[in-house]
């Protein structure tokens, strides 16, 4: 019986090539893959974030206040800090909360800074300001957040603001195959599965350069060194409803014993009919 002497080499080569071809998408932005593409002469200019968006977060969204109602829909009592992992320093600062003083200082927007804004009951209108910048307007407090794609973190001498500097990044769903599939548990491999099309993904936003403000209307502080990390996820239901869940993590060692980790639900609205711009308030 004749043997295919070259078969082992060819099989190995084939497996490697198929692995490279199909593993590639797991690291679409990886330098190795980009280099391989360049060698092949297939290098393409990166698509603008607006075009490359794996999910659509634009439109009008209303916050659904089913949790923490007592601390969000009304201004809670001074000293009511339930749920927030405060440090001793934080409590000392919060115990001195005086809304009249904030008003006199023109700081009515202290509880509308980025770490708290999405918790404030209201609506947000999300649009593309340009191909690289997503704009989030809130009717409550009439604030504007700008999410800059591909931007570097703010320089340390940049002026600190209520909304800070936000660097955004798409996190598209990944496809994986060939040898890549072997990296997963066997449970995830099946030759009977239909070839998938990666769909969906998340938006990651990291915000720094914040002007010190309040996590809760009654004076629970965050510092200028706070770092806000958010993950925005959209869920389109079969019945047509669209939900946006914003996972929110605030890290601030000065005022938080551990990062504050909450998630906030929003529901999409068909238009801006209920848009109700309202200025910041220290008391309500």
């Amino acid at each position: 019986m004749r043997r295919l002497k070259a078969a082992p080499t060819l099989v190995a080569t084939t497996l490697i090539l198929s692995g490279l071809v199909l593993v590639g998408p797991i690291l679409p932005d990886g330098p190795g893959w980009a280099r391989l593409e360049a060698q092949r002469g297939n290098a393409q200019p990166p698509r603008a974030p607006r075009v490359a968006a794996p999910i659509d977060v634009t439109g009008y969204w209303v916050s659904i206040v089913t949790q923490d109602w007592r601390w969000r829909m009304v201004t809670p009592a001074k000293g009511d800090y339930v749920g927030i992992p405060m440090t001793v320093d934080s409590k000392k600062v919060a115990d001195t909360w005086d809304p009249a003083k904030d008003e006199a200082a023109g700081e009515q927007c202290k509880s509308y800074g980025a770490p708290a804004l999405m918790s404030v009951p209201g609506r947000v209108h999300i649009t593309w300001q340009d191909d690289n910048t997503l704009k989030v307007d809130s009717d409550a407090g009439m604030q504007t957040r700008l999410f800059h794609f591909g931007a570097a973190a703010a320089a340390s001498d940049t002026a600190k603001t209520w909304q800070g500097v936000s660097v955004a990044q798409w996190q598209p769903a990944r496809a994986i195959g060939g040898f890549g599939a072997l990296l997963l548990r066997p449970a995830e491999r099946s030759s009977t599965d239909k070839p998938p099309v990666p769909k969906g993904g998340s938006l990651k936003v990291v915000t720094t350069n914040l002007r010190p403000g309040y996590l809760r209307k009654n004076g629970v502080p965050y510092s200028a060194n706070a770092v806000l990390t958010e993950y925005w996820d959209v869920y389109k239901r079969p019945n047509g409803e669209e939900w946006l869940t914003i996972t929110t993590e605030v890290a601030d060692p000065q005022y938080l014993r551990e990062p504050r980790l909450i998630a906030l639900p929003f529901k999409k609205e068909p238009n801006g009919e209920k848009w109700d711009p309202t200025p910041c308030s220290s008391r309500w």
Binding site: L4, V11, T14, L15, V21, I26, V65, T66, Q67, W69, V74, P76, A77, G79, Y81, V82, G83, P85, M86, S90, R123, A140, Q171, A173, R174, A175, I176, G177, G178, G180, R185, P186, A187, S190, D193, P195, P196, P198, K199, G200, S202, Y231, D233, Y235, R237, E241, W243, T245, T247, E249, R257, R260, L261, I262, A263, L264, P265, K274, R283, W284
Partner: protein, 319 residues
């Protein structure tokens, strides 16, 4: 020479067999609940703030007496699957592969002391008939949507929506949406109930991967004598008649929140509701008790049985 076509065929077969699969996310592990929201808060028995209850749902909630959980026949009754959002503990998730093919058959969320385990079937098995028996854990089918897992639970029994605050019926449906971001797992829950809800009740909870998290596993339950008056009078069904709930004004008295808001309803969860109560709310005096701001105590299982009432609430016979 005739080996060449065979080689080409072999190469083609190997290449084509490397079919890409969706990069499914591993959900397994112990996930700690940071407990930074009021999802599991249950100090005042009548607190439907932001809950989209229907008129029937409100009536059901107001008739509820926590002592009912101490009745012998209800002590081993467990909370509904929605308790994954409103309970005090974290989630312990594991996967169950088919022993032959190793293909994922199900995700399992372990039960707690008072919440049944949830099995999320990923094999596309048919959902039972609507007339099939209901269980505390219900029947759940899951499906990947990109890197998010969507799971829908039906066939679960009537039970608490939040701890001792509002009930969902046995016709309710719960949709979970799992999104993992590194060591953070965010779960969005959409509870729909044609009987006791006027709109979907949506809660979110983020968990952190933490192998040291405290979990109280589901164990066998044996009824005990929790409340002597119920044990001695098994015919008593603890409840409050319409208009007779003694705790209806507790939130208003403690926090100055208008009663109309405390009684819930879909309008209370929308931002514009603030305008409706703005002139009726006066900020209460500074908080003196149970105010937070201190390191929390670790979670502990309920004292006594699953429904053992706290002192003063349901611990005595109804008058």
């Amino acid at each position: 020479m005739h080996d060449k076509p065979r080689l080409i065929a072999l190469i083609a077969a190997l290449t084509l067999s490397a079919v890409p699969v969706i990069a499914q996310i591993d959900l397994s592990g112990s996930w700690r609940r940071p407990g930074q929201t009021d999802n599991s808060y249950s100090r005042e028995p009548v607190d439907l703030l932001g809950m989209p209850v229907s008129a029937d749902g409100r009536a059901k909630a107001l008739s509820y007496d926590i002592a009912s959980l101490s009745a012998t026949e209800r002590q081993c009754q467990m909370y509904t699957p929605f308790y994954a959002f409103t309970g005090p503990f974290g989630l312990q998730i594991s996967n169950e592969p088919d022993p032959i093919t190793q293909k994922l058959v199900a995700w399992k969320i372990a039960g707690w002391i008072d919440r049944d385990a949830t099995t999320i079937w990923m094999d596309g098995r048919p959902r039972p008939s609507k007339n099939a028996p209901h269980s505390h854990g219900g029947f759940t089918l899951g499906e990947w949507d990109g890197e998010a897992l969507t799971a829908v639970t039906t066939h679960f029994k009537l039970g608490d929506m939040k701890r001792h605050r509002g009930m969902s019926s046995d016709q309710a449906t719960l949709t979970y949406r799992f999104n993992r971001h590194g060591d953070i797992l965010t779960v969005t829950g959409i509870l729909e109930d044609p009987v006791y809800l006027a709109e979907p009740f949506v809660l979110t909870e983020s968990f952190r991967l933490d192998q040291a998290t405290t979990l109280f596993p589901l164990t066998a339950c044996e009824p005990i004598e929790e409340l002597p008056y119920l044990h001695e009078n098994p015919g008593i069904v603890p409840h409050y008649l319409p208009g007779k709930n003694p705790f209806i004004n507790e939130v208003t008295q403690k926090h100055n929140i208008p009663l109309e808001a405390v009684l819930g309803g879909p309008e209370t969860m929308y931002p514009e509701y603030r305008k409706k109560i703005k002139d009726k709310y006066v900020m209460p005096p500074p908080c003196k008790e149970g105010c937070g701001g201190q390191p929390p105590a670790p979670p502990s299982p309920p004292a006594g049985g699953r429904g053992a009432p706290t002192a003063g609430r349901g611990a005595t016979p109804p008058r």
